[in-house]
Symmetry: D2
């Protein structure tokens, strides 16, 4: 069965800014989804901030295996209730791919628990993403590095929990480095952060960047989907010896 | 200088429930703080849910190196604004020690990003906490295991991110196991979860449990305290070559 | 293409000891390989200590995707040269599944760098392996736990590097716990240690144990195979500014 | 009590090569030990490849809290027996600080289990080591980065197990990046790899590099020292129920 992807985009820059509109006339989410839809075994659809429920209804999420997230200038407009909903689904098993300025999205900070802050500079400088894990599914088909002629710079210290695996480290022309590809598991879900993607540079027109996104969609697809529970199991598996003390009862009922 | 500890307690059971009142007449936080205050180089004070701002004012937190957290039945009454405040401080460097049923507190779930759910049973059964890291500062003075005659059972699967280090694993009489001592770093702060501690068993009258809490207070004290920032650094450290393309500008200002 | 598995066995107990011979008349490796050969997409063959080059010639290893390792009483008889050869292949991408008393094999200690010591007791006691990662490929088809009526006990502290992921934790009737399923990545290869397997208990007649081994064979198959190299790259990717100092040369040539 | 440091050096370049001799007339180990001996609470002594038992007798190691290791051109001359001895001590709790070309030393590869290979270039280029963990004891007193005007380049992929914590990432003028400061725990010992240090550049004349070495000596001092054991514990902690099966005995005695 196909991996069901939903590509979420803030989708504001593309309407208001000529430079962005020229690069992504139908939106960053559209170019990503179009690319994914050409790959075998992936079906992608769109969702955006200004859709009802940000396009992330219970039904949409229930039918999403992997959610891509691109946001930048309107993180604060994403409703907490929707963030709760997405987090719940990730913990149940849904994959989450966070792109570029999505580092500051509510959902990314929620999943990781940290500030996710960094250094940044817009100078159209060169970036080289070194591939530290050539055996990881996310880097399939990628060589020693990906080179991007013009990018926004993100520099360390990136305030994230130590990644389970560090996939890419970037070198920037202006002198900084950055952990540009990082994976974590949370609950039953997989998370991938991928740095490239500024709205005024043609990052999503780069074939290697798109290859990484395709790989990530496949890698992050759920291996299992399980609802959370915190069960009382009053019957022990092994006999419990008689206790000669009565401790009384407290518990939540009396709280 | 002394490690400044604030011991936070929901402090409801001890007022309403005879069994709990008998064990902890002045509250679980009081017995912990009293113990810590007898240790060299530690000063502990109290805070509780029903204090103004839950006892966790900006000033209190600014003067807290390590925060202990015990909650059970009223997690939902902790205001989100105070959770934000505590999270910010942990990321700046403050230590956080989460006890027992605090696994379901807002602050613990916030820091870790997962459900923090588990299995549980109240049957006064025996628990043996195996010490996996005899060289870790948290287990100083602790032998191969700590044995508790009567405890509430917590069983796996505990829905947490893989700990940086697994310190204790519990064996339960009734047949379960649990990752009972776990450490993580988030931002510049250190987090320790320690499982023992149910309100109707005399856990905080156990000398080895108290030794672990003392050790944890010392271990979690900040090594550094840094406010978060996400700076624009327009001046590169290295010269950036001339670019022959004009990409225009987008950025948050136009968002 | 099928996953090519080689099941390596010390294969001494089965010849000398009546109890073991009865359980595994053709050897522990044979029962495992037979099981794997019944699974879709897996082809398994045998190798043993007393074969020429321990059955692990360059050719065999070059055609092995995943190597299973069972040893117990003759770890010291495995030649260092063969250990070097296996290590090299694991670092190139071959999977390695180490079973039970293989914790003390040269190859396991070589890959991990630690003593891999533990506590042990032969008392035919009950073991329950709790499944901490129901979403991991290794636990596919396994429920909350695997129960074994009679096993040798292995207890903590198990002297291993912190696993990348802890898959199973065992509860033992006699009071101990153990990290019974652990995964690591080294080089491009994946390593899985799986505790059950003593030669005098019918562990490899248990369907769930065999399911884990099947899953592990699939999971550990190489995602990539790369020979090691440590290249000099005299040509920089970016221009290096003129330096006004002459440092002379040292380097290995003069060593 | 003072931290007892032994600084081990291959100590060959300094005798044979004029460029190296000029920078380090008494050896790289001497300049490091002299610096450490000026710090409060540290006592450092020297050891070298051509000393009897490479200067690492049982007695020396028994009195060493932290061992520094610098080697380059003669890794193969270090006797395996001495490597065994050092490994044993690290697993018991001794700290190990591996410098620069020590990445290819027998002891480093032994502790980590991987090839520890990398890319390299000698072009006297600029390096900037970004400090990812300003709260870690190893970076005390170090700012956002350390800049070195002229260094040998080491580039990714560095074939190491994922570090427990990544402390420094280097940017190189020629276009590469490198994980230049990494920590791991093995057994009860702490390991720190620190990249800077080529013999023809004045790296150990740099105050910030020396500050890192001082910090590392303090951080890696043992928290505990424990000999390895793998005990049989025939007496269970909990009663084991009667078993109605006789499994016979195998075990190492009959192997």
């Amino acid at each position: 069965m196909s991996v069901q992807v939903t590509v979420w985009n803030e989708f504001r820059h593309e309407k208001k800014n000529e430079a962005v509109k020229k690069l992504y006339p139908e939106g960053i989410h559209k170019i990503i989804a179009d690319h994914l839809n050409k790959q075998e075994g992936i079906e992608a659809r769109l969702a955006a901030l200004d859709d009802p429920e940000h396009g992330l209804t219970e039904e949409v999420l229930a039918n999403t295996d992997v959610l891509f997230w691109w946001g930048h200038a309107a993180h604060g407009e994403v409703q907490d209730e929707i963030v709760d909903r997405v987090q719940k689904r990730v913990l149940e098993g849904m994959g989450l791919i966070v792109l570029h300025s999505g580092h500051f999205s509510k959902i990314f900070k929620r999943m990781l628990g940290t500030n996710c802050s960094l250094k940044w500079r817009e100078a159209a400088e060169k970036e080289r993403l070194w591939n530290l894990e050539p055996g990881h599914p996310i880097t399939e088909g990628i060589g020693e590095y990906i080179e991007l002629a013009n990018t926004e710079m993100y520099g360390e210290r990136f305030d994230i929990p130590t990644p389970d695996k560090l996939i890419f480290v970037s070198w920037f022309e202006g002198g900084e480095v950055f952990r540009s590809g990082c994976v974590w598991e949370r609950g039953h879900g997989r998370i991938f952060y991928f740095r490239p993607g500024h709205e005024t540079y043609p990052i999503y027109h780069n074939a290697e960047v798109m290859q990484v996104l395709t790989n990530a969609a496949r890698w992050a697809a759920p291996r299992i989907t399980m609802a959370d529970k915190c069960p009382n199991v009053p019957e022990p598996l092994e006999p419990i010896s008689e206790k000669d003390v009565d401790f009384g009862k407290a518990g939540i009922v009396q709280g």
